[in-house]
């Protein structure tokens, strides 16, 4: 597979939204590298432990827990590089996670009340939810129909930054529960770590 072969982006997006980050990352890795670890521009990777176990030369930089699963941070400078199809896939993955976070917010805010009224119906909350969705829509509009290579690495990096901002807007609406490591806030955190490993440029 070359870096310009398309991946099943719709499935990756849906998997991220409904089954979560680890399932979607496994799916993403199953594509271009047949289960082998893909590394970012400076030779970093963040992969589920079962994928990391096949790596023998990489340095482990630590682990991060996510809802009972574990992801391993790896560094292998010899494998540094960018893969257009994969990075676009990661954009769809993080977009799907962001969609899942939006659904969680709507459900959470619809179930909580202030002075007897659902939080979701407060104008302030509606406006912030809308702002986050506008952010998501901007990203979606750019990546819909894009084929690997249509968007260069810097462009994809910017889209990832926008997804992070959308996630942060949504997390704020969850108050303290968005900061719990056993809730959606941890998934958003690991999503940011994925963007960190696979986007941007290698430091000079």
């Amino acid at each position: 597979m070359t870096s310009h072969d398309e991946l099943p982006y719709a499935t990756i997006r849906a998997t991220a939204r409904t089954e979560g980050l680890v399932a979607a990352v496994l799916l993403l890795h199953a594509g271009p590298a047949a289960g082998r670890v893909v590394y970012g521009p400076a030779g970093h990777a963040l992969v589920p432990r079962e994928v990391a176990s096949a790596e023998t030369t990489a340095t482990s930089l630590g682990e991060v827990a996510l809802h009972g699963r574990s992801l391993v941070a790896l560094r292998e400078p010899a494998m540094a590089g960018t893969n257009a199809a994969w990075t676009l896939g990661l954009t769809w993955l993080r977009y799907g996670l962001s969609e899942g976070l939006l659904e969680h917010c709507r459900s959470y805010l619809g179930g909580r009340t202030s002075d007897g009224s659902p939080l979701l119906l407060l104008q302030l909350v509606k406006a912030q939810l809308a702002e986050a969705v506008i952010e998501q829509l901007e990203v979606l509009t750019v990546i819909e129909g894009a084929r690997p290579g249509d968007l260069d690495h810097d462009h994809l990096t910017v889209l990832h930054q926008r997804i992070t901002l959308a996630d942060r807007m949504l997390l704020r609406l969850l108050g303290g529960s968005g900061f719990r490591a056993d809730g959606p806030g941890q998934s958003a955190h690991v999503s940011e770590l994925l963007a960190d490993a696979y986007t941007g440029r290698a430091a000079k």
């Binding site: 970012g40 970093h44 930089l61 302030l124 303290g176 968005g178 806030g185 940011e192 440029r201 430091a203």
Partner: protein, 384 residues
């Protein structure tokens, strides 16, 4: 511009040195929050453990370079910014009067203050402050934890959420409902050793040193004389007392946010070799932005020290802006290190995670925006 005076500058210099020393254990504390017990003899923790204690309960006042320090708004924000720039988690993990101290000072009678501050002065004592409840977040008016009279005792039943340090604490202030209505909420000074008090840690994305907890009270018996503010009018105790106390504390939380932003910025300057001219300009711009929010925080702190009626909305403005600043600057700081920054720079990653925690401490941005609007409509701020 608001400048620190000589006395406040002395405090800043000492706290900066102490906080930077403690920052060596920042990542260890994250992994093992209990390790704060091993740091109790270090000057930064010893300072926090005793700051502030009112003059009448303290035989050994804190004196630095000949200046006494007794607490107050500007002192608090100075301390908080320095710890925020080093490790906010360490400040939140430390023993000391913290939020409860403000409430006990405001609402406690002489015996209650002697009990509380006597224990603080005697040995390192962790305290907690329990207002937020599960499912109700910032909606304190919907509080369901109850305090009922049983002879000469009070029975406490209910639950609180996101309560920092409750698992380490000996003492704390708990808000509970004694009857329906807005004036039906009271504060009580409770020992954690009473049967029926159970605190369970909640894992968090950042600020792990704080060890926030879920706390459950199952018929916890509390002596009736621990009810705070019984000697005050109903309008000065309970929730209104909490609001007054939180208004005083909020600039400190805002200063933590400013500190986190500054810490991330300092980290970039210390660890990025050979910045480009554009990067220098970018960092200088960030520095100016931090200074602007610092000024806002100091303005709120001065209002706190002056009993300014505009304190509430000013503190909210500072907190709201500082929470945003911390998130914005920490995310931007990653860009100076390129791909893989969060893996290669765990302390910077910690600043990024900790920044998210400032948002939910002491009320989220929405609550503060509403407070600011109230301040505008009531003519408490931006008045000629």
């Amino acid at each position: 511009m608001i400048e620190l005076n000589e006395r406040q500058s002395v405090l800043r210099a000492h706290v900066r040195e102490w906080a930077q020393e403690l920052a060596k254990w920042a990542l260890d504390l994250e992994r093992t929050p209990d390790m704060v017990h091993e740091l109790l003899d270090l000057p930064g923790i010893r300072f926090l453990a005793r700051n502030p204690i009112p003059e009448e309960y303290d035989d050994e006042p804190i004196t630095l370079d000949g200046h006494p320090f007794r607490g107050g708004g500007v002192e608090r924000v100075t301390i908080c910014e320095e710890f925020g720039a080093a490790d906010a988690g360490m400040l939140l993990a430390a023993p000391g009067p913290s939020m409860s101290g403000v409430l006990v000072s405001q609402l406690g009678d002489k015996a209650q203050q002697e009990l509380f501050f006597g224990r603080i002065a005697e040995r390192p004592t962790w305290t907690f402050f329990a207002l937020t409840e599960p499912e109700r977040g910032s909606d304190a008016g919907a509080m369901q934890t109850t305090l009922t009279q049983k002879g000469d005792r009070l029975l406490l039943n209910g639950a609180k959420r996101f309560i920092g340090n409750a698992i380490r604490a000996d003492l704390g202030v708990i808000f509970a409902r004694v009857r329906p209505g807005p004036l039906g909420v009271a504060a009580v000074l409770a020992d954690t050793g009473h049967p029926g008090f159970v605190a369970t840690p909640i894992p968090t994305v950042g600020l792990c040193g704080n060890q926030v907890t879920d706390v459950r009270f199952s018929s916890v018996e509390i002596p009736a004389d621990r009810l705070l503010g019984a000697h005050l009018s109903p309008s000065r105790r309970g929730l209104l007392g909490a609001v007054r106390g939180l208004n005083q504390l909020r600039p400190g939380v805002a200063a933590l946010g400013v500190g986190i932003a500054r810490g991330a910025c300092d980290y970039v300057r210390a660890h990025r070799r050979a910045l480009t001219a554009w990067e220098h300009a970018e960092l200088d711009g960030i520095g100016l932005r931090i200074e602007g929010v610092r000024q806002l925080v100091l303005r709120a702190a001065v209002a706190s020290d002056n009993d300014d009626p505009g304190l509430g909305p000013l503190a909210s403005a500072a907190k709201s802006r500082a929470a945003g600043l911390a998130e914005e600057v920490t995310l931007k700081s990653l860009g100076f290190f390129g791909a893989g920054a969060r893996q290669e720079h765990p302390l910077l990653d910690k600043f990024v995670r900790d920044a998210r925690g400032i948002e939910y401490m002491e009320g989220t941005r929405n609550i503060h925006h509403l407070n600011v609007f109230q301040g505008i409509s009531q003519g408490k701020i931006v008045r000629q």
